[in-house]
């Protein structure tokens, strides 16, 4: 298993495609073998006051007592070409609805906090990676094995402006 973060996140591009926010992360694998990375968002955090969006492609925040721990979904794993740059696309809803816990709602806020993440101006992405794909083992607690597999994490923060994809001018469409 990898003993330290090995990949480099070179660029983060954010766009609106078919009503979803798509983060495209250019991931450099400097090693001479294919590596593998989470390509599923596992934690989304957004601060509307600073417009900072953080997307974790790992499960390090899940403890054994987390209500989701026993049935964390199998992550999508993307192979990263050896000695090359692979684009990893992550799709997010344009509006994220966070369920506030009871402890946060002492002054009567609505249960759901609505985040318009298309307004984000800064994105931090954290990507777990390993030198083999993830294979589920039914004999080991799911969160423990996912955290072990994804123990090495690369991070990158970028300024972004989330814009819809450019449409070609009408003349090009006609031609």
């Amino acid at each position: 298993m990898l003993e330290e973060p090995t990949i480099q996140l070179e660029e983060i591009d954010a766009n609106l495609k078919e009503e979803n926010v798509v983060l495209t992360i250019a991931v450099r694998n400097p090693t001479d073998r294919t590596l593998y990375a989470y390509a599923s968002p596992r934690r989304i955090e957004y601060d509307p006051s600073t417009r900072k969006l953080t997307v974790a492609l790992h499960d390090q925040h899940i403890g054994p007592d987390h209500p989701m721990a026993p049935h964390l979904p199998h992550p999508r794993i993307e192979p990263l070409e050896a000695e090359g740059v692979t684009p990893v696309a992550v799709q997010l809803p344009p509006v994220v609805r966070r369920v506030r816990s009871a402890a946060e709602r002492t002054s009567g806020e609505p249960m759901v906090e609505v985040w318009e993440i298309t307004e984000a101006t800064e994105v931090t992405v954290e990507v777990a990676h390993q030198d083999t794909p993830y294979y589920y083992n039914p004999h080991v607690d799911k969160e423990a094995q996912l955290k072990r597999w994804g123990g090495q994490i690369a991070r990158k923060t970028s300024r972004v402006k989330i814009v819809p994809p450019r449409r070609p001018p009408d003349a090009e469409l006609d031609g």
Binding site: Y36, H61, P67, I77, R98, P133, Y136, N137, P138
Partner: protein, 478 residues
């Protein structure tokens, strides 16, 4: 009435209509099920209405609804259970997405929006329309439906409110999956494997066994599913087994992506790899599983059966197998004598030579250097191919049986010994050795492996001697 459906928190609306549809399904379309939509109750800022039920349909799932609604069978009036039907844009308070999932949160647990009631959320979009798969009983995958997903979460809720939650989250999950299978019976869906909690968005896990998947046409083919199930549930059931596969993957994935790329660039290689390697290897894996399950009995019969399979004739026929034996002998010569220049890959005569040679270079440079790859991917193929050749040559089945079981006993006794053994106490090492009994039941294998392990980890010499001399646990499957 302690089962309620959430409609809104004042700013966000929830999909109560789909919750109603799913509850009607769970209650077996019982017309006694009702929804008192005008009798709303505000629970900490969330508008809810109660479910009502006068049961007339008999069935386990309808009984569960009756218990939850009418507070029977130990279900108290409080805490109440509030159901939220949500789409794939929701996340829990810590940012964990609910997409493709459901969750039930007991009172007092971080993330519960209520101070005194149980909340359950489930993704009514089934992962934004992609669908949700879970591992199926007996191997393969089965799909999730919204009513089955809700019933699963209501099982957790039932346990929470009745104080019957299992001691560990894994055991609680098993209990909910056992209940879930009752709802699967109602829907006529394949049972879920309650000993495997894997699942996710889409049709199934796609990041595994890629060469075999390409060669057999699908990652979900019956043969791939069967081997995956055996690997996950039997072979990886011990620390040594899990460690073995982790190290094997490390070696295997050092070269397999290049094979896949080659196969993608040179489609002719797909046929060569399939008939020249993957299909025979699947035959060899079937032989190994049979050997372990039946304590070596009937291996000649299995080979005879394989030799007659019409769909494998191209790979299991005498000419193909004889060619394979020659190639493996050459690989062995490389391992023993370093004669690299002699290695080639068996391929159909119509295949252009260049890509085959490129593949041969790759295999030559990678497989033969790795003890684990040699042990797991070359040696079983050699044993299988030699046995198959004897079958084709009309050798008596009794003799084939003896040759093959002897070779397998020698092979399994040569299981590579990882560093993990040095971390074991004698007690733990004893448990791990017993776990090997499923394949090391033959006296020759036990003697060989026990001696090798004692040499490499002298602290375990005593336990190795005891294990080698003991009778193996268990017996052949019926």
């Amino acid at each position: 009435m302690s089962l309620l459906i959430a409609t809104t928190d004042g700013t966000t609306t929830f999909s109560d209509g789909q919750v109603q549809v799913d509850l009607i399904s769970i209650a077996l379309m019982d017309t006694g099920l009702g929804f008192a939509e005008t009798t709303t109750t505000d629970i900490e800022g969330v508008t809810t209405y109660p479910v009502t039920y006068t049961q007339s349909e008999a069935g386990v799932t309808a009984d569960r609804v009756d218990d939850l609604v009418n507070n029977t069978n130990g279900v108290p009036a409080n805490p109440r259970i509030v159901i939220f039907g949500v789409d794939d844009s929701f996340v829990l308070s810590d940012g964990t997405p609910l997409k493709g999932n459901g969750v039930a949160i007991p009172v007092g647990v971080t993330g519960n929006p209520f101070t005194a009631d149980v909340a359950t959320f489930y993704d009514i979009t089934l992962c934004g329309g992609q669908g949700i798969w879970v591992d199926a009983e007996g191997g393969g995958t089965t799909q999730m439906t919204t009513d089955v997903l809700l019933y699963h979460e209501l099982s957790h809720c039932f346990h929470f409110v009745t104080g019957t939650t299992a001691p560990t989250s894994a055991e609680e999950e098993v209990a909910a999956e056992i209940d879930e299978n009752d709802m699967r019976d109602v829907r006529g869906l394949t049972h879920r494997d309650v000993n495997s909690h894997n699942g996710g968005c889409g049709g199934g896990p796609v990041n595994c066994c890629i060469i075999a998947s390409l060669a057999t046409g699908s990652p979900y083919s019956e043969e791939i599913n069967s081997f995956r199930h055996y690997r996950e549930h039997t072979l990886r059931g011990s620390i040594v087994g899990d460690d073995f596969f982790e190290r094997l993957y490390h070696s295997y994935y050092a070269f397999s992506p290049e094979v896949v790329r080659l196969m993608g660039r040179k489609p002719v290689l797909g046929d060569a790899v399939r008939s020249g390697y993957v299909v025979p290897l699947l035959g060899a894996l079937e032989l190994l599983i049979h050997y372990g399950k039946h304590r070596g009995a009937g291996v000649a019969g299995l080979l005879l059966d394989q030799s007659r399979r019409p769909d494998c004739r191209h790979a299991f026929g005498r000419t193909a197998v004889a060619g394979l034996v020659t190639q493996i002998d050459l690989v062995e010569a490389v391992v023993r004598h370093g004669a690299l220049e002699n290695v080639a890959v068996h391929a159909p005569s119509t295949a252009p030579q260049a890509p085959v040679e490129e593949l041969a270079d790759l295999i030559r440079s990678r497989i033969v250097e790795h003890e684990l790859l040699q042990f797991a991917l070359v040696d079983p193929l050699r044993i299988w191919a030699r046995g198959m050749l004897e079958i084709h040559d009309g050798i008596r089945p009794e003799a084939v049986e003896e040759h093959v079981t002897s070779a397998l006993a020698e092979w399994v006794g040569g299981l590579p010994i990882g560093e993990v053994w040095t971390s074991f106490s004698r007690l733990k090492a004893g448990d791990e050795l017993v776990a090997l009994d499923q394949f090391m039941f033959d006296r020759r294998a036990r003697t060989t492996f026990g001696r090798r392990l004692a040499e490499q980890v002298p602290a375990l010499a005593g336990v190795c001697t005891e294990w080698s001399a003991a009778e193996p646990e268990g017996g052949p499957d019926a």
